[in-house]
């Protein structure tokens, strides 16, 4: 039986590793599917990538080891964000801090839309929401 898994990770590259083609390696060597959710990479600066990795569990584990060996810091997000839609007033304040545009608001009806797929579980919206309706819960 093949054990397929998906994880969301934040990768921090030291300035010297910013040009390293990690994504290609993950795809070719570890046969992972890579979905880049957020990128903040500039030459000679610490770079940050948030990616979703899908693949066989043992390949994911090997890839994570490899990433660490390359001197790239890796943090696995294991929380989930819950939005209490009933109590939301659709003001839009949370959209101003959301780095991945998982939260958006606008025409036609100015209802807050939350795209779970794009969420980085960074928690910025939790504090930015004046109505306290966003909550970060740790996944078991």
């Amino acid at each position: 039986m093949i054990d397929i898994n998906t994880i969301k990770v934040s990768l921090t590259f030291p300035p010297s590793k910013v040009t390293f083609p990690l994504m290609t390696k993950l795809v070719r060597v570890f046969e992972l599917e890579v979905n880049i959710l957020h990128a903040d990479v500039r030459l000679n600066k610490t770079g940050k990538l948030i990616v979703e990795l899908t693949g066989e569990t043992h390949n994911i584990d090997d890839a994570l080891k490899y990433i660490e060996e390359m001197g790239i810091t890796c943090h696995i997000f294991n929380g989930t964000l819950t939005w209490d839609e009933e109590k939301c007033v659709h003001c839009g304040a949370c959209t101003s801090v959301c780095p991945s545009r998982a939260l958006t608001i606008g025409e036609p009806d100015y209802t807050l839309s939350f795209d779970k797929e794009k969420c980085l579980v960074c928690g910025l919206c939790v504090k930015a929401c004046p109505l306290n309706v966003m909550c970060l819960a740790q996944r078991e």
Partner: protein
Amino acid sequence: MKTIEEINEKIKNGTAVVVTAEEMIGIVEEMGTKKAAQKVDVVTTGTFSPMCSSGAFINFGHSSPPIRMTRVWLNDVMAYAGIAAVDAYIGATELSESQGMAYGGAHVMEDFISGKDIRLYAESYGTDCYPRKSITTTINRDNVNQAFMFNPRNCYQNYYAGTNSTNKTIYTYMGTLLPNFGNVTYCTSGQLSPLLNDPEYRTIGIGTRVFLGGAQGYVAYQGTQHDPGQERMPNGTPVGGAGTLALIGDMKKMSARFVRAAIYEKYGVTLFVGVGIPIPVLDEDMAAKTSVSDKDIFTYIVDKSGATSFSQLVSYHELRSGNVVINGKKVPTAPLSSMKVAREIADILKQQILKGEFLISEPAELLPKTGERLNKLDVRGD
């Protein structure tokens, strides 16, 4: 052309034509101001925004033996008691003495409106006629005598949008502002906003009946910091803060859907207040004024960190597009005021007028249209 009396007759007969300020834009585009003025009788507006300058007077009733309350706390939030024996004013931004920023006057108001019990603790020095020195009890919507919201400043006619030039995130009443012009926040319902649809205060004045927090309330006076002398566009709309309204209404009749407590990270507590104001289309000029759209309403984006005097003129149309360009860089924008609930309010008001439940009132007095610009507070001493 039309008087308020004539419009009210039509409302009572069920023949009045009532549209929201957003619907009015299309109507005027299609038939022009002249025909629109003949056709439409009332335009409804709405806003649902954080409005710090809000609060409520409550009369608790007398205990036996009676107390002349000198200090009052409602759920640990201090209310102002320097008025008669059992009257107090609870302000929206006052913080809880036990929970700090997690609870405040705004929460007391929301809980009261929701019908919840609120713990009252009061102290006194005791007098011959009011011997009691302290009291602990619970109050709620049904056991107090009066509870009326009296908001010294609501419905800012327009408001500056905020951004942050520094390299640190700042936490403000304009929300969380990201470093290096990382975002822009703005806070009005623009084309649906009450005072932007009557920019020169021709119909909104003292005594105007309004939708306030789900109940019928009134304009009590010009609001604090009313500043009609603000720079204006040729269409009469001000660029930045200008007119304001002091509003009053029965808090016992309000709904917590339209009065919500809010906490801005590291700033404090405030209250979202829902307001809707009907504007009678008296003539062609009012038809033109009520058809104003976000393309014709402007404000300045200012640096809320105070570090620079950065200021950039933008239209609400640009702000609503989701991005503006600052120093050549695309910057995301976000609203703080709920357009969704503002539309709901304008629509409820429209339905109430169509059903004859809400009549238009002739103001007892109009708001000042000119005036000195606002005073600054001098610092004298340490």
